[in-house]
Amino acid sequence: MQKVNRDVLLEKAAAMLDAGEVQAVLGWGAGEFAYDVTPRVFETSDELRADFVWNDFCGANLSKYLVSKTKKLEGKLLVFLKPCDTYSFNQLLTEHRFEREKVYAVAVPCEGMADVQKLKALAGDGISSIESTDSGFSVTTIYDDAPVEVKGADVLLEKCANCKSRKHVAYDELLGDEGEVLDSNRFDEVERIEAMTSEERFAFWQGELSRCIRCNACRDVCPACTCEKCVFDNPNSGAENKAPTTSFEEQMFHVIRAFHVAGRCTDCGECSRVCPQNIPLHLLNRKFIKDINTFYGEYQAGAEEGSRAPLVDYTLEDLEAEDVFKKEAE
């Protein structure tokens, strides 16, 4: 259950809209079902009051939408940012992807967001309503009148279960606490895979990646993937691909996707959240983050605006490529 409630956000946004201080509000809007909250731009306070949502299903990172939305507006855009979103916000600023002056960033503390897949696994399909309770959710399905009680901690999104930081690293206004960087166990799973034999790792990834339907959702949602034209859409890039027609047409997709965001990925976990096939894509990103930390020193993308990403930097004493595996063995 979120500590700051919807009204606080709503009134803040409505007041600024009505006062003309911002032209639009980028927030979360109600979707088809109780759990499919979607990013949305609100232009009037009436719209806001009708459809604005702030609850445990607001996992979506809104920072990416600033790139296109700010370009369409003359005035300012108010955006709500959870702690992990503020890292993406900074990273996008570092890369000059939107103008800071056109954004009014409101930071919202976050207690972790719920994973619909996990909820469905516990409460069953056909969810008709979800009530927040003190400890979690009371879920009603169309198959059963009696609501199912689910503990909040059991249905956290992976990115929230391994939350790296509750600190807001950028904002104009803060609703609630600034929060702190956390000690997370986010590399545990990477380490578990690293400890496997090469064959096991291959089998693991083959099992995961074979489910990919190449829907591009991971790319489309990624706040680091804001290219004007993506290499995967560009016939001249040598990486453009359609759905797989042969056994090996596009196995590079996931490596290239992860490499393109290496050193820029803030580990916001959106890729895994949206994957319809539940592929743990964040593990690829975290592998790069872990390697960067081990090889070149701790680096958190987006922690600071304007920081120099590890892949556009070097030192004379950098690790040699052949020593990579020695270092990891340590």
Binding site: K229, C230, V231, A309
Partner: protein, 664 residues
């Protein structure tokens, strides 16, 4: 579709001995785009080249693939051949089937097979080649030299001698730099002023050279051949064109107690001053922090005594814009601060001095008129201790000293010691050293003379502590060879202080986008083969701004830099390398990642309007590559996520085509 001709060279038996050239040309004839194929004994011979020229004309070829020796050998030759046939020279690709095939493989079958694949790769690449034309940019035939020490002076004189105008920018009121403060110069012991001041006069009288003294570089824009520089000429409150340098104003100025920078604060100057007698330009300068007239409007004596009417209390800083084709950095060095070296008591005793202060003390124009007297009581010192490596080779603490060897100290200390013993044979002179480093013409001989002829006592060991006691300096040091600790009562201690680049160098490097090392020395384009050029095109390095240097080395580097500048300025147009990066603006994110990896600062960003699908216009930040600055390494092409950045001549699509051809 290209119309490609394939020419397979035998290179006598060099290729034909291991590669079936006939089979290669047969195999390649069905490749896409190939309309002509042949093989010949020596493609690089005149007859071979004629075959190419005839084929281009006869078959209307648009691309050429030569399967021959390494492109490092004859790419240039075949490009010329293509040009002679009326083709763009960059429509030629070479398949290296000699150095990387016939010479390293013994087996005819595998050699032939590989040659065919290499040929296919070259054909695949040439299919995607586009005609390239080197960009041209005009060259402003004027050079800027930043720094007016011996390095800057020599560079300016050499450039001017070749007939090009040169401007020198110097922050001090006079040119001359550190060398003007020196007494004698090693290893010949001629007096510094005697060899420097004529050069300074040459500079003043050379009508190709302008001196902006008491001035700073404010802003640098542009690139090689076309730098746009703003120079700030600080107000000196004296009209330079009118002042005759008579010195009447200096004599009458009532503000007498201003520490004299030129003598390192060991005596005083006035608020209006001429740094030294041979200053160039020899004009007075008013120190605004000391002048009563400027501070509170009370005085005006200098204005009254100036018969020329050169004093102008209302003078303002002046900004001058000028275009230059080349910039030479000659910002020089300074001794490091002694504040962190309490053990040598530099801040406690006036009689602990730096070597540069020692130069002034022995200089006839110095505070003691050249008599060696200790600063505290103006007595003649009978025991002098010289300490080498003070702050040099210091790896303990970055704030304290410098990790590098300052290079010049061994020689000047030998010089000082020798001069003292020569002038005052009754003086005991000790030199504490860690190593004596004297590589250089006549250098070791010089040092040995100090020991053997002049009886300077060289002691291997370091001074640990200097303690002022009464009018003596207690020097505690180790003598490593005797295995003793020495306690010497000295009258004067001279510290061979490490040197560091001038503080102005770091901001200047930022303005120039020139790279520096961790010690703030400018880095050279190549440490061995391009030692006087900065990696930034059009920026050259002269003197100690690139690393510690003595005078002979500085002067030779200064002349070398000048020759590089002259080589640039004689060109009317700069022809660039056409194989450079360029950004596809439609795909560019403007994220600055490419600029972060560019070693040359060739990438800038502009805001540009683009029509959108909904018929609106959208402003986006996009990268622009300066073709005159880009060297074509391709670092940006990989850093670029969207693939907007590509490299002409080595385009991603071309390399992928080669990969595909090889893996087919």
């Amino acid at each position: 579709m290209q119309r490609i001709g394939v020419f397979v060279c035998w290179c006598g038996s060099n290729i034909a001995g291991t590669v079936d050239v006939q089979a290669v040309s047969e195999a390649l004839k069905t490749e896409p785009g190939v309309v002509f194929f042949t093989n010949y004994q020596y493609m690089c011979s005149q007859a071979g080249q004629d075959i190419i020229i005839d084929a281009v004309k006869e078959h209307n070829l648009t691309g050429i693939v030569v399967c021959s020796c390494s492109p490092r050998m004859h790419e240039a030759t075949f490009r010329k051949t293509a040009a002679a046939a009326g083709l763009n020279p960059y429509m030629v690709e070479i398949a290296n089937i000699r150095e990387q095939c016939s010479w390293v493989h013994k087996d005819m079958a595998s050699g032939t097979e590989k040659a065919i694949i290499l040929g296919k790769a070259a054909i695949a690449k040439v299919n995607l080649n586009a005609p390239l034309t080197p960009g041209e940019s005009p060259v402003t035939k004027r050079a800027l030299v930043i720094g007016g020490g011996i390095a800057g002076i020599q560079t300016a004189l050499d450039i001017a001698d070749a007939g090009f105008p040169v401007d020198i920018v110097e922050t001090k009121p006079t040119i001359g730099g550190k060398m003007a403060q020196l007494d004698k110069t090693f290893p010949t012991l001629d007096c510094a002023a005697c060899i420097l001041t004529p050069k300074m006069v040459d500079v003043a009288q050379n009508d190709k050279i302008r001196i902006f003294s008491y001035s700073e570089v404010q802003e640098i824009k542009g690139f090689v051949g076309n730098f746009d520089v703003t120079i700030k000429k600080k107000a000196r409150f004296v009209k330079e064109e009118i002042c005759t340098g008579c010195g009447a104003c200096v004599e009458k100025c009532p503000m007498k107690k201003i520490p004299n920078e030129f003598n390192l604060g060991m005596d005083n100057r006035r608020a209006i001053y001429i740094p030294f007698a041979q200053a160039v330009p020899k004009v007075a300068t008013i120190d605004p922090s000391a002048c009563n007239m400027l501070k509170n409007g009370k005085c005006g004596v200098c204005s009254k005594v100036c018969t020329a009417g050169a004093i102008d209390y209302t003078q303002k800083d002046e900004f001058i814009n000028e275009k230059y084709g080349a910039i030479v950095v000659a910002t020089g060095f300074n001794p490091i601060s002694m504040d962190k070296f309490d053990e040598y008591a530099y801040n406690q005793s006036k009689d602990v001095i730096t070597s540069l202060e020692f130069e002034r003390l022995t200089n006839a124009a110095g505070p003691t008129q050249g008599k060696l007297l200790r600063p505290s009581d103006l007595e003649h010192p009978h025991t002098i201790v010289f300490v080498q490596c003070v702050g040099s080779r210091c790896a303990a603490c970055a704030e304290k000293g410098k990790e590098y060897c300052s290079k010049i100290c061994c020689m000047y200390t030998a010089k000082h010691a020798m001069l003292v013993r020569d002038k005052y044979p009754d003086t005991e002179v000790y030199v504490f050293y860690i190593d004596v480093r004297t590589p250089g013409k006549n250098f070791d001989e010089f040092y040995r003379r100090a020991v053997e002829e002049y009886g300077v006592k060289y002691i291997k060991g370091m001074v640990g502590k200097v303690t002022p006691e009464g009018n003596k300096l207690k020097v505690r040091a180790s003598d490593l060879i005797a295995g003793k600790q020495l306690n010497i009562d000295a009258d004067l201690v001279v510290l061979a202080v490490a040197i560091e680049p001038d503080k102005s160098a770091r901001p200047l490097a930022t303005m120039l986008t020139a790279s520096m090392d961790t010690n703030d020395f400018f880095t050279e384009a190549h440490p061995k083969l391009r030692p006087v050029e900065s990696p930034t095109a059009g920026v050259f390095l002269s003197g100690a701004c690139q690393g510690p240097k003595d005078i002979p080395e500085t002067v030779s580097q200064a002349s070398a830099a000048a020759s590089k500048v002259i080589g640039l300025l004689v060109k009317d147009k700069l022809k660039g390398n056409p194989c450079i990066a360029s950004a596809n603006e439609l795909m560019c994110n403007g994220c600055s990642t490419c600029a972060n990896v560019c070693p040359y600062g060739a990438i800038t960003y502009i805001d540009k309007e683009f029509p959108m699908f909904d018929r609106t216009m959208q402003t986006r930040r996009v990268a622009q590559v300066n073709p005159a600055v880009c060297q074509g390494c391709g670092a940006c092409t990989v850093a670029c996520m969207s693939g907007a950045m590509d490299l002409r001549g080595f385009a991603s699509s071309q390399i992928i085509a080669e990969v595909d051809a090889i893996c087919r």
